[in-house]
């Protein structure tokens, strides 16, 4: 367990339409000392990224309204949000999905179901950069 530094609490935006998955992710990140805000679909995700300026965005690929690829592209092409690292989580495991994710500008990629340790490792790495 990491020691929480209140003055520099990192803010993570979780964009995931599956409520139970989002809640689980939030609980785990909370435990690690991160502040978590949530969005239920791609469009909300992009809006939240712009208004809340999180330190990291964790996003699912398959979502209603605006999906993960498009949302990621939008975040990365907008001057206000393009510096925010994006980690993509997905149940889709095709080579094509990985390529697309990176072309959309994602900074990291993790297939579902994922191991909490690996997730936290990637989160730490992306927040440090």
């Amino acid at each position: 367990m990491t020691i929480m530094d209140f003055s520099k609490k990192k803010k993570i935006l979780v964009v995931e339409d599956e409520v139970q998955l989002a809640e689980g992710l939030e609980a785990r990140l909370h435990l690690e000392g991160y502040q978590v805000i949530r969005a239920a679909n791609g469009k909300e995700g992009v809006d939240q990224a712009r208004s809340q300026q999180p330190d990291l965005v964790i996003m699912d690929l398959m979502m209603p309204k605006v999906n993960g690829f498009d949302a990621c592209q939008m975040i990365k092409s907008d001057d206000r949000t393009k510096k925010i690292p994006v980690l993509i989580l997905t149940a889709m495991q095709t080579l094509g999905a990985t390529d697309d994710a990176f072309h959309a500008g994602a900074d990291a990629f993790l297939p579902k179901p994922y191991n909490s340790e690996r997730l936290l490792e990637k989160v730490r790495r992306l927040l440090d950069s």
Binding site: M1, E18, Q20, L21, G24, L25, A27, R28, H30, L31, M62, A91, M92, Q93, T94, L95, G96, K112, P113, Y114, N115, S116
Partner: protein
């Protein structure tokens, strides 16, 4: 097949007699021409029908293929999501996110977690095989150094090997053998073979990964000091859902679904290579795969 006498007489009758008069001959030739034209016409009609039949069969096959793809992608998402939720919830509990976990409960939570991870692995294998068999697997072919891949895989396996106190030996010749193939798929093959070797090797054992190459092919072998495989099992070991009895694995969570080697075989065959195993009970096993350097 005996040709009946009757037939011979008919054939003779059909042939023009040398002492026929010209009118008879012309009439005869006209009939021959008519018959040939009839035969050609009927054949053409038949070919058109067969073509339509083929088109219809093709459409049905395409429909079936679409259905299969849909199945794979639906199963992929629908099964993985609940599994992810389960694993995540257990990990949260175990990490103490909702309060301390008493030792007694921890054991059972660990058990749930192990099996959920195992399910996840099985699901991944089934989908992998399904995609490979249906040709839905998108392969990126590239030129790379095979020894790098082997080295990378061995490095990955080190932590696990150390836990069981198994030594990993790597024998790579000085030259750098490059191949044109799918590095991701071959990495999967290496990981599978090494994973098996680790699973079946006793503590203190030794696993040797050796490398051979010539102008046109590259060969990788994984040798372990495990219990070996009987001649009977050796015949079916690459078949799907075949598992070899292993005394050291009592937990269901360490048993596979028997698809690992099948997936290896599919991948190696896709590369137009071959894969085989050499073993004797009590004398360890040696798994070898060989692929042409310019793969398809």
């Amino acid at each position: 097949m005996r040709i009946p006498v009757q037939k011979k007489n008919n054939a003779a009758r059909d042939r023009a007699r040398p002492d026929q008069n010209p009118e008879e001959e012309i009439a005869h030739l006209r009939k021959e021409l008519g018959d040939m034209e009839w035969a050609c016409r009927k054949t053409n009609d038949g070919i058109k029908i067969l073509y339509k039949d083929l088109e219809w069969k093709n459409e049905e096959l395409k429909k079936l293929d679409k259905l299969r793809s849909k199945f794979v992608s639906t199963v992929s998402h629908e099964l993985r999501t609940p599994l992810a939720i389960i694993i995540q919830a257990i990990e949260n509990l175990l990490a103490g996110a909702f309060g301390p976990v008493p030792e007694k409960q921890r054991l059972w939570l660990d058990r749930i977690n192990e099996n959920a991870e195992h399910l996840s692995g099985l699901l991944a294998e089934i989908l992998d095989l399904s995609k490979l068999e249906n040709g839905k697997e998108e392969r990126k072919l590239e030129r790379f150094d095979m020894s790098d891949l082997v080295r990378h895989c061995v490095d990955n396996m080190q932590p696990l090997a150390q836990k069981k106190n198994i030594s990993l030996l790597l024998e790579i010749p000085p030259a750098s053998p490059t191949v044109w193939a799918s590095s991701r798929q071959l990495f999967q093959v290496m990981t599978n073979l090494m994973g098996n070797a680790l699973k079946f090797s006793p503590a203190g054992g030794k696993i040797t990964v050796a490398f051979e190459e010539d102008k046109s092919t590259v060969r990788v072998s994984v040798t372990d000091t495990g219990p070996g495989i009987s001649a009977e099992d050796l015949k079916k070991i690459f078949d799907p859902f075949v598992q070899v009895e292993n005394d050291s694995s009592e937990n269901v969570s360490t048993k596979g679904i028997g698809l690992g080697l099948t997936i290896c075989r599919e991948i190696v065959h896709l590369h137009k290579g071959r894969i085989w195993a050499e073993s004797e009970p009590g004398h360890g096993s040696r798994f070898v795969f060989e692929i042409p350097r310019e793969s398809q």
